[in-house]
Assembly symmetry: C2
């Protein structure tokens, strides 16, 4: 399989996953059309709005781009599902930290990134991101984790069970390794607490040959499928629950911690912001409303 074919296959998967997720989330908005919503919420079920963007490499050469899909609804207070396919040349200091880039600084990256902030404090926020990177090497990375303001053991278990199933089908040590990596990565040091209740985080699943490309690509697809199996049922089960002012306040304060993690620790966010990435696409992860009071 040529590298071009691999790139095209990965990109096509991320796009089709985006379409299925957006379709599912819009269906949930319609199902919840009659539920009580926030004062500022739209009257009608939310719909995704798509915005395309392009990037130039620092040299001025075309560098690909992406499409943001953002929905501000009644159930989904704010959800972004971004896909992007970018290419260019790493700067020398950055290339030094990327596998395979010191030999040749050219890169290609395609992926999907999703963050959902929910109006109802009983519905957890969620993050999912998978990507395929190509330098002189190529690899998959990504993850998904659940971010409830008011954790429910039942939801956490159900969410992790789907991810574990995806892991177990594709590697004997995937679950142990990637669930531990998630706990380690999404740690808010200065708060001495985790950002969320867990999930998986993985990176550098290298694909030196077709067999390993197929295996790692299949795992990455399984993570997307697991997300689609795991998250919508939690939303449907919780979105009708009543909430109090205090619970909403707990949600807004929790979102403050979420924003702290993303702006202080998240490597993709901080690196993207400081190196001229698409600010709107990077910061779609930030909560629609947050409190530090």
């Amino acid at each position: 399989m040529t590298m071009d074919a691999r790139k095209a296959a990965a990109e096509a998967w991320f796009r089709s996953l985006r379409d299925r997720i957006c379709g599912e989330f819009e269906a949930i908005e319609k199902e919840g059309a009659d539920l009580p919503a926030l004062p500022g919420a739209p009257r009608d079920p939310g719909r995704f709005v798509r915005t395309a963007w392009t990037r130039s490499d620092p040299s001025g050469a075309p560098g690909g781009g992406g499409v943001m899909s953002v929905m501000k609804g009644r159930i989904f207070e704010k959800v972004g599902v971004n896909i992007s396919t970018v290419h260019g040349t790493f700067t020398p200091d950055f290339a030094a930290n990327i596998p395979g880039a010191s030999e040749d600084p050219r890169f290609f990256a395609t992926g999907i990134s999703l963050v959902a902030h929910m109006a109802n404090p009983h519905v957890p926020a969620v993050h999912m991101n998978t990507r395929f990177l190509v330098t002189t090497r190529c690899w998959f990375g990504g993850g998904a984790d659940l971010n409830p303001a008011l954790p429910r053991e039942e939801d956490t278990k159900a969410f992790k069970a789907q991810l574990k199933r995806a892991c177990d089908a594709h590697g004997a040590d995937h679950w142990d390794k990637f669930s531990a990596w998630c706990d380690e990565y999404f740690w808010i040091g200065h708060r001495n607490r985790a950002r969320g209740v867990g999930g998986i985080f993985y990176d550098y699943l290298e694909c030196p040959d077709d067999a390993q490309f197929e295996a790692n690509f299949a795992f990455t697809r399984a993570v997307g499928e697991a997300f689609l199996e795991a998250f919508p049922p939690i939303v449907r089960a919780r979105m009708g629950e009543k909430w109090s002012e205090e619970e909403r306040l707990a949600l807004l304060r929790y979102r403050g911690l979420y924003a702290e993690f993303n702006l202080v620790y998240d490597r993709g966010t901080v690196f993207g912001l400081k190196t001229g990435g698409n600010t709107d696409a990077i910061l779609m992860s930030l909560p629609p409303e947050a409190r530090w009071d």
Copy 2:
């Protein structure tokens, strides 16, 4: 003048400035007691609440501490005025970046740090911070800048005029240098905009002898006095102005940018959070409510 006498004099100044500022802000709360306030505001004028904290050096040795003064009022939605006096030993990698610390990693630091987030979108937020650092060298640093969601030329001019007066009385190039440094420091690169409308930022005003200590200490006191001259009149002039829902929304979105700057770029914040500083004291700068919608 011994170094101990210098330390004591600086610390005493920061404490007395804290008392005067808190007194002035509480007086403003009383004057504005009958003005319309936010839905969640207290019924009575706000009062500062003080919380003391202590730190241990990573070695376990006592490392000083500080006092946070926080007021959540009707005019001042959230204001923190922190003082701290800390000492200890820099880690080797940090010592390499601090003047005079590579010779001997022991340090002493005393200072005041203030951030005010105002309920009324017509009243600008403000930041002020001054400090005295001692390694094998010693120096003053600090600054003050105005952060309106809805800038008013008149307020910006009045605020800067007081700071310029303080600068001009203490160094021919202070204003040009420190106002430019402010614009450069408080730049939100990924938004391609300044955090606020300006002020001053200064650092490394070294004090190799008594004359230079006295001169730089006098300038740092003048910055505190300028703040007390400049900011309260702006609050008093604006706090009675009516505001619309849209203006409040503009304030909340502006505060999102403010939080982005502090969490992504502010050296003191990022360094403090990643090296075990007092999280509550460091993050008192974050806005009580913010939006990214």
